[in-house]
């Protein structure tokens, strides 16, 4: 029976295979989803003035992307620039105006560089010579 019906089975090349039923692993708690890097979306980067900052943590709860972090053992505000989309909500919510918005292009680093957005392996060839 198995042999007889073999011809109906689609052989899926390794590089094209995707998870069974599209069921994928969840990221870790307090982790990241590195398949969707969004730092490249940012036009304005949030920059915090630690002297002004009163650590009220309003900005922590204002970020839709969970990119406002507590660093230095929870003593300071920091940003996960790999994912910050630069929306500016942290700047708006800050009661002491401690977060500035600076054009991203004026910085040398801070954005993960991607060769392509979500390139499927079997499509890669189309981009080659």
């Amino acid at each position: 029976m198995k042999e007889r019906y073999k011809k109906y089975i689609v052989e899926i090349p390794e590089e094209m295979s995707i998870p069974y039923a599209g069921i994928v692993e969840s990221p870790k708690v307090n982790g990241e989803q590195p398949m969707m890097l969004t730092g490249g979306w940012r036009i304005y980067r949030p920059v915090v003035d630690h002297d002004k900052c009163v650590m009220c943590k309003s900005c922590v709860l204002a970020c839709p992307d969970a990119t406002v972090l507590l660093v230095d053992g929870g003593q300071k505000i920091g940003f996960n620039l790999d994912y910050c989309k630069g929306c500016g909500l942290c700047t708006w919510v800050c009661p002491v105006n401690a977060i500035d918005r600076v054009p991203e292009i004026d910085f040398e680093d801070g954005v993960p560089f991607q060769d392509a957005l979500f390139l499927l392996p079997h499509v890669e060839a189309l981009y080659a010579d």
């Binding site: 490249g40 979306w41 060769d115 957005l117 189309l126 981009y127």
Partner: protein, 204 residues
């Protein structure tokens, strides 16, 4: 064999959705008036559009009927437009660029300053890189969703930044004549200034 020029314009999601589309529409409209076969289309795969996401708008201009009209993307573009220079920091906008291609960026910076964001492999293929202060020329960035989902654009084509960018692309690539671009853009002045004020650095 038909000679087809593929144009990919990178823009910021929602904010420049209309402007990015306008660059393609103005260029194809101009080319059509010169007798070319044309196609202007959005990146359907990545729709719906999200604020700040890098979006791609595409155009194809050919001397014969376009046969690969249904392809979702321009895999091997000849011309790259970048409506917001910051996008280049995060993504290789020149991926798949044909040899002898052009890169035109909306920026107040000099072309040399932005070359560093083009990886070595693609840099070798560039014939010229150019910058135009499109936002300075036409600060309008019209938000209009009417054309995004396959419907017709309600607002006029080429009112703001898009017109200046289209003018600059025409000037750099020589793809279409100056008069045709001016004729196709609603904001004639912006297209003209884009054409005239673009700063070009020829690489080979």
């Amino acid at each position: 064999m038909a000679k087809t020029t593929e144009i990919t314009v990178w823009a910021t999601g929602v904010v420049q959705d209309k402007e990015g589309r306008d660059v393609c529409l103005v260029l194809t409209e101009a080319a059509f008036s010169e007798g070319f076969f044309t196609q202007a289309f959005d990146n359907y795969v990545d729709l719906p559009d999200r604020i700040n996401v890098q979006v791609r708008k595409y155009a194809r201009i050919s001397d014969a009927e376009i046969e690969n009209k249904f392809e979702y993307e321009n895999h091997r573009p000849n011309i790259i437009g970048v409506a917001e220079a910051t996008i280049m920091k995060g993504i290789n906008v020149c991926k798949g660029l044909q040899d002898g291609g052009y890169l035109i960026i909306n920026s107040t910076k000099a072309p040399e300053d932005l070359l560093k964001y083009v990886p070595e492999k693609e840099r070798k293929r560039l014939k010229a890189i150019a910058c135009v202060d499109a936002l300075g020329i036409a600060p309008e960035q019209l938000i209009d969703y009417s054309g995004a989902e396959g419907a017709e654009d309600v607002s006029a084509i080429g009112l703001g930044l898009g017109a200046a960018m289209a003018g600059a692309i025409a000037a750099v690539s020589g793809l279409v004549k100056k008069e045709s671009v001016l004729g196709a853009a609603a904001n004639r002045t912006a297209a003209k200034r884009g054409y005239d004020e673009v700063k070009i650095k020829v690489l080979k």
